[in-house]
Symmetry: none
Subunit: 204 residues, 2 copies
DNA sequence: GGGAATATTCCC
DNA sequence: GGGAATATTCCC
């Protein structure tokens, strides 16, 4: 099922995130109202049977069946969780309401998205704080450079060592096969694996 | 199937990315060798039937069945694609080889991986032009710590590698003697070289 | 082949 | 509840 198939807002140019579309779809699915549905007013939705969400809902709409992942996404989009008087989890977001689909001669979902994006933006802005002396910064920069050079040297040396060790092991294997001897293990394959697969080109 | 089930490196404390584990698993699956398998030397792997990958391979190992997504991941982990003489796609990464599983018997300390991860993060942060110096300073401080740690790790690993290499060489010599084989290499010269290589003593 | 947005997982 | 790593999608 492609995103396009699920687009309940075809007249909008913006891409509504798949997660929101799918969650809305779930709430439109009448066969699921025992497990999850809008509240009476259609201003929030309630999960009645979290334990059944996994196989009966999530698996059919998402690429997983983990309820916590569903929660994580709701959280991501700023839904707020409350408990109602029956102890049920109720999730609400000021733009996410029943009938959303019909109301869209207004650009509700657009504002939702803008809201979300703005929020993300502000978050990274928040990380910007007061500065300290550029003197100190310079010192760190310089020390950094020499450390990086050392790391680079060490890495090069290890790569060479590894090649040697590989060669050596091949030799031993050959000899050992003739001889029935046992071999030792090799350490840097692991290291190389880590360092390279995960990309470690020291930024110089 | 959880990540744990797939962990072919159970003795490692670090997490090997799921994608790598699964790709390795695929290559270990004998029933798939018609579609995808190691090359003769076990130094790369070949996709023989890209068209069958989707339903017969990917769907069983990943949360999708899109061949392009598989390619994207290979790309992400720096695998290089080439075409062999039969026009087949061959993927190779210098540390990703048949038998990898057996070779991985060493622990690199967790901090090395943390360094790598943090560094990736900072790299993307670097693209934020608006970054100010207090944050920058912070990053430097943190990276400094990590670099020191990684230098330490590398040195330790280096020492172990060296010991292994020495051992390995003794083995070979012994084996070789028993075998009446003549070896191509002169081990003493070789060892001498190694000792030179390893003498990098960064002042930390 | 890779940047970037979104989804999923893992962890505190 | 949310930060961060990894996976998947989408797009150039």
């Amino acid at each position: 099922m492609s995103n396009q198939d699920l687009n309940i807002f075809p007249h909008l140019k913006v891409n509504v995130p798949s997660f929101l579309l799918k969650t809305y779809e779930i709430l439109e699915n009448d066969s699921l109202t025992d497990l999850i549905s809008w509240n009476k007013e259609g201003t929030s939705f309630i999960v009645f049977k979290p334990s059944d969400m996994s196989s009966k809902v999530l698996a059919n709409y998402f690429k997983h069946k983990n309820y916590p992942s569903f929660l994580r996404q709701l959280n991501m989009y700023n839904f707020r969780k409350t408990r109602n008087q029956f102890g049920q989890s109720e999730f609400r977001h000021r733009w996410f309401k029943r009938g959303l689909k019909q109301q869209l001669n207004h650009n509700l979902s657009r504002s939702t998205l803008q809201y979300i994006r703005r929020r993300n933006q502000e978050e990274s802005d928040l990380r910007i704080e007061t500065k300290e002396s550029s003197q100190e910064l310079d010192n760190y920069k310089r020390e950094q450079e020499s450390l990086k050079q050392i790391v680079k040297d060490l890495q090069e040396t290890q790569i060479k060592l590894q090649e040697d060790l590989n060669f050596q092991q091949e030799q031993s294997v050959t000899l050992s096969n003739q001889n029935q001897n046992t071999l030792q293990v090799n350490y840097l394959d692991y290291l190389g694996n880590k360092l390279n697969l995960i990309v470690i080109q020291p930024k110089v």
